[in-house]
Amino acid sequence: MNDVKKIAPASYAFAPFFTVLFFAAIVAMWFAGKYSQSEAEYHLPSLIEDSYTCVAGKNVSEKLTVYMNARSVAPSLGELLCSDPVVQRQYHQVQVYWGGGDVSDITFVGKGIGDLVNTKDNIVQAFDAEKTHGYKRLASYAQYQAYLIGRDEKPELTREYLLGQRIGLLDYPSSRSGHIIPMHLFRELGLREDQITIVYSNSHASLRELLANNQVDMIASYWADEDRARFSENYIQAIGESDVRGSSWYMKMNGRNTDLYCALQTALGSLAQQQQSTYFGDLNFVEACPQQLVGR
């Protein structure tokens, strides 16, 4: 019964001291909670790579700038160039950029930044880059035919047939088979853009995905052997000219650097041998190297 009486403090003199102590402990606990977690790293480095760099020669300071569209092939080309004796003699470093579409193409070719560039002829022509920056065509990938590829039937090249159809095109305007030739065809047939449904896609591979998933009725693209597994060769319709040239390699010729010309041809030839099963495997040189350095 007397418990309450028993715990009453004998003296209240300590109360202010204890109150201060208690609130100090409260504040200390707040700080303990605040600083209980370890220091965090808030800096996020850049994740996007746009080039592959390798060291070639030691006694020179020049850099060979290469530009191409395919990221997967860029490191192989870089290694081939870095191991070439002529490149080692003339350049300290090789940097192979891979592009992000037409904007990058225009930057590297139009401004003459790339020493060796893989681009479409129409880009080079658009900027008159052969005269402006001295680009010289080294080699081109194989010519091909542009097609309208249907899923369930062979497309007809008539206005009546194409009216209201869903057609897959590439979203970059420099593509001949995926954009320029089909657009040219629609204009020739008098089809306005509101009379057909154009579905844009980022690549030839994603165009095929659209067709396979029945999101479009037909696509504008090239025909490759591996397409037989998914689509019928009977349902393709050739459009435009039959000699659409693939992309080309251009070299910026400063003077008469024939050693480098031949060395680059050799490297591109070796790359074509490495990539025989892909688009990059069928390479045609514009003119032979005078010193017969090309292995093909």
Binding site: M1, N2, K6, F14, L21, M29, G33, L47, Y200, N202
Partner: protein
């Protein structure tokens, strides 16, 4: 020779020993445990708020870091833009988001990207992007919008919340124990020496007030509870009863026999109370001999208590000096000490 003792805020603390420690642990009462928990809850709450605030701050900084990274990378990311007939590259975006999430996981940040525009990142729980320790956490979804000219970019992130156990810490426990150690000497049961002065029964309990015996030296009377009834008592029995109450409180289980000499302390207390009566101006007579006429004094006290506790007979157990039962009033074994006084409420006014 008096041994030096540790003093704390004017209080002499008992000398430290293992047996003393054990006794101290045993003497911890439920009020002290209650105080400890109040301290703990207050300190734990403070710790929790500090931790939560810092966590919110950290999460916001991580979110801003992710927003900043994505904003800087936007020109290189192939996001769809219907106005410009750009289809976008889902594979590139997914690859980018997965690499970003792997980086966030490596840096042990609590934030992951769930989606950018309509492109969802790989399942963060399956792709090894979530640490094993994060599996049990609850996750909050945060949506942010990035505004670029002509386009609005929606970014969704998942934030890993702290678990309940992560908000607990040993610091509040240790700190509340330390506070308890500092406060417990003041919350211990008081020694009899402490029950002095003008201390009135400290309680808010009205029942306790109602059952309290008040020995009023100023008015030379006994009162009980809040009733206005008071019974006057002569100087000698009044002082003796005050001394008896005090003595029995200090010495639970004491034996007081009529034929044995009364303890010196009891007599000294009685004399002290008499001197107090003199000081209060109630008498100028010389100090009586409390050892004489003990039976008569006890009878007067019992008579006064009979009158006072007429309506509360069960309280006699605490305050009534026991009568000899059976063994005869002159028995040598008769004990008139107040054996149950420690369980009762009483006070002396005008000490």
């Amino acid at each position: 020779m008096q041994s030096p003792g540790i003093t704390y805020w004017g209080r002499k603390l008992p000398p430290y020993s293992w047996s003393g420690l054990g006794a101290s642990i045993k003497s911890i009462n439920r009020y002290q445990i209650g105080c400890f928990f109040i301290f703990y809850l207050a300190l734990q709450a403070s710790y929790f708020f500090g931790l939560s605030l810092q966590q919110e701050f950290r999460i916001e900084r991580h979110i801003l870091a992710v927003e900043n990274r994505i904003s800087l990378d936007l020109p290189r990311l192939s996001l769809p833009n219907p106005l410009l007939n750009i289809a976008g590259n889902p594979a590139q975006i997914r690859d980018y988001l997965d690499r970003l999430n792997r980086l966030l996981e490596q840096q042990q940040t609590p934030v992951r990207v769930i989606s950018l525009q309509q492109f969802a990142a790989g399942d963060i729980s399956d792709a090894g992007l979530m640490r094993a320790s994060e599996q049990a956490h609850s996750h909050m979804q945060v949506e942010r919008t990035l505004y670029v000219p002509g386009q609005t970019i929606n970014l969704t992130m998942g934030v890993c919340q702290l678990t309940f156990w992560q908000t607990l810490s040993v610091f509040p426990v240790v700190a509340s124990m330390l506070l308890g150690v500092l406060a417990f000497p003041f919350l211990h049961a008081k020694t009899p020496e402490e029950i002095t002065g003008n201390e009135i029964v400290a309680t808010e309990n009205s029942a306790a007030k109602n059952a309290a015996l008040i020995l009023d030296l100023e008015n030379k009377c006994l009162r009980f509870g809040t009733a206005h009834v008071s019974v006057l008592l002569a100087n000698k029995p009044l002082c003796f009863y005050a001394a008896l109450l005090t003595y029995c409180q200090r010495h639970p289980g004491a034996r007081l026999c009529q034929h044995a000499p009364l303890p010196e302390e009891l007599l000294a207390l009685a004399n002290q109370y008499f001197l107090r009566l003199v000081a209060l101006g109630h008498t100028i007579r010389k100090r009586p001999d409390f050892d004489m006429n003990l039976e008569k004094m006890l009878s007067e006290i019992r008579a006064a208590l009979d009158e006072l506790l007429l309506d509360h007979p069960h309280h006699k157990t605490f305050f009534y000096p026991p009568k000899a039962l059976g063994e005869g009033s002159r028995s040598k074994v008769h004990n008139f000490a107040l054996l149950h006084i420690a369980e009762a409420y009483w006070t002396i006014k005008g000490k």
